[in-house]
Each structure stands twice: as structure tokens, then as C-alpha cells.
Amino acid sequence: MDSIIHVLTLKPVLVGLHLGFAILGIDLLVWVVGEAIADGGNDKRMKFAAFAGAVSFIMSWIIGGYYYVKFYGKLVKPIILKSTAPWAHGVFMEAKEHIFLFIVPLALTVLFITLLGREEIKKNNLRRPLVILASLTAGLGLLIGLMGYIISASARWG
């Protein structure tokens, strides 16, 4: 058990898990958008995708937060600030870490809409808001991912 925890808290593993769960969350929300637009199949698939998407974003938040608090400030931030791209921290890291604060409430709201089921979603005119909100949450996830790439690149090659 100790060795599993040790491996899971290695820096590259933390970054990989943070990114992996974020990508999974984005893909699952895109799946929700597809289910809502196609309006076919059963409700369980859409609910599963929304539930798993919310869980993935929560995991990305916790793992990314642990890495950020424990390692980023001490080890990565000084490198970026001394690099040719200090704005990678000053703009992109600061924006990323604060926009992420409200991604999970957005993903949970998407989940709660899907729990209504297709018939209730249609009856309550919620199909369009669901598509837009799920797309927005996935889109913000992609933007945050792009910011993460900029930050990593500046630490490696700046």
C-alpha cells in the first residue's frame, strides 16, 4: 500500500493523472453533447457520461491541486519566472488555477440536468441549455489544458 501511494505521488505520475482525468472529463462531456444532440438511445448512457465526467473533473481538481500546492510553487514556478516566458506563470497559470475553481459546479449542473431524462429535458426546454452548458464546460476544460501546455513548455524550453 505504501509503495502504491509513493508511486501515485511521484511528480510525473501526478501530472499525468491530473491531465488524464481532465482529458477524460472533457471527452465525457463531449459525449453528453452528442447524446443530447442525437436524441437517440437510452437515458442511462447520457447520465453515465455526465456522472463520469463530473467525477473525472473532481479527480483532476484534487490531483492537480495536490501537485500545485506541494511541488509547483517550490520547483516549477521559479524556473518559469526566470525563463524567457515569465508570463506563462503570471498570466496562464494564475488564470488556469482560478478558472478551474468553478469547473466542477458547471459539470455537476450538467449532471443534474441529465438526471431528468430525455423526456423531461425536452418537456422543460432544457435540451439547448444542456448542449450549450456541456459544450462550454468541455471548452473551458480544453482552454485550461492549452494553458497547462504553455506552462509546461515554458518550464521545459523557456
Binding site: I99, F102, P105, T109, L115, K123, N124, L133
Partner: protein
């Protein structure tokens, strides 16, 4: 199952309002902490790191507002739910833009 006993439309409305509150809180606490070193230090004193405190408080704002709206406001019909979701979408876009542009300004000043 417990989820079947919930008023699911009211839950969506409550979550949307809670999420709007979370967006507003996240934007406000971010900017205030950057402009006030004393406030930022007080955030650090709560949970050891300012970001951890902001995360916890944002989550609490979402949960408490959503819970209050779900339990203590009148049942909301579909038109209000659509409006709440439209407002959430607008606030999320605006909140993200404000945060990004604030840090661009903050870096350049």
C-alpha cells in the same frame, strides 16, 4: 433510490444558482487576494495555501447556496430553470474572461 425522491427540476435550478454564486465568489476572491496581500495571507492561514482555501470556500459557496435554494425557495418551473441556466452560461463565460484579462493587466502593470 434516493435520487428518484428528489425534485429534479428544482435540483437543476438550485445547482445553476449555486454555480453562479461559485463563479462570482471565485472571481471576487481571486481579484481581492491579488490586490490585498493581507487578505491573501489570511487565506493562507486557513488551509496552508491560498489556492486550497479558495477551492474549499468556492465548493462551500456552491453547496450551501444550492442547498438553500433547493430547500427554502418555491418550486421553480421550466421557464425559470432555462433562465437560470442561461444566466449560468453567461456568468461562466464572463467570469473566465474577467479572470484571464485581470491577470493580463496585472502582469503588464
Amino acid at each position: 433510490m434516493m435520487i428518484n425522491k428528489l425534485n429534479k427540476t428544482q435540483l437543476v435550478y438550485a445547482s445553476a444558482v449555486g454555480a453562479i454564486a461559485a463563479v462570482i465568489f471565485a472571481v471576487a476572491v481571486t481579484i481581492i487576494a491579488e490586490e490585498s496581500p493581507g487578505f491573501k495571507a489570511s487565506l493562507v492561514s486557513v488551509a496552508g495555501h491560498h489556492w486550497t482555501t479558495k477551492s474549499i470556500f468556492t465548493a462551500l459557496v456552491y453547496l450551501l447556496v444550492a442547498k438553500y435554494v433547493y430547500w427554502f425557495t418555491n418550486e421553480h418551473k421550466s421557464k425559470s430553470v432555462v433562465q437560470a441556466l442561461a444566466a449560468l452560461i453567461s456568468f461562466a463565460i464572463l467570469g473566465s474572461a474577467v479572470i484571464f484579462l485581470y491577470f493580463v493587466w496585472h502582469y503588464l502593470k
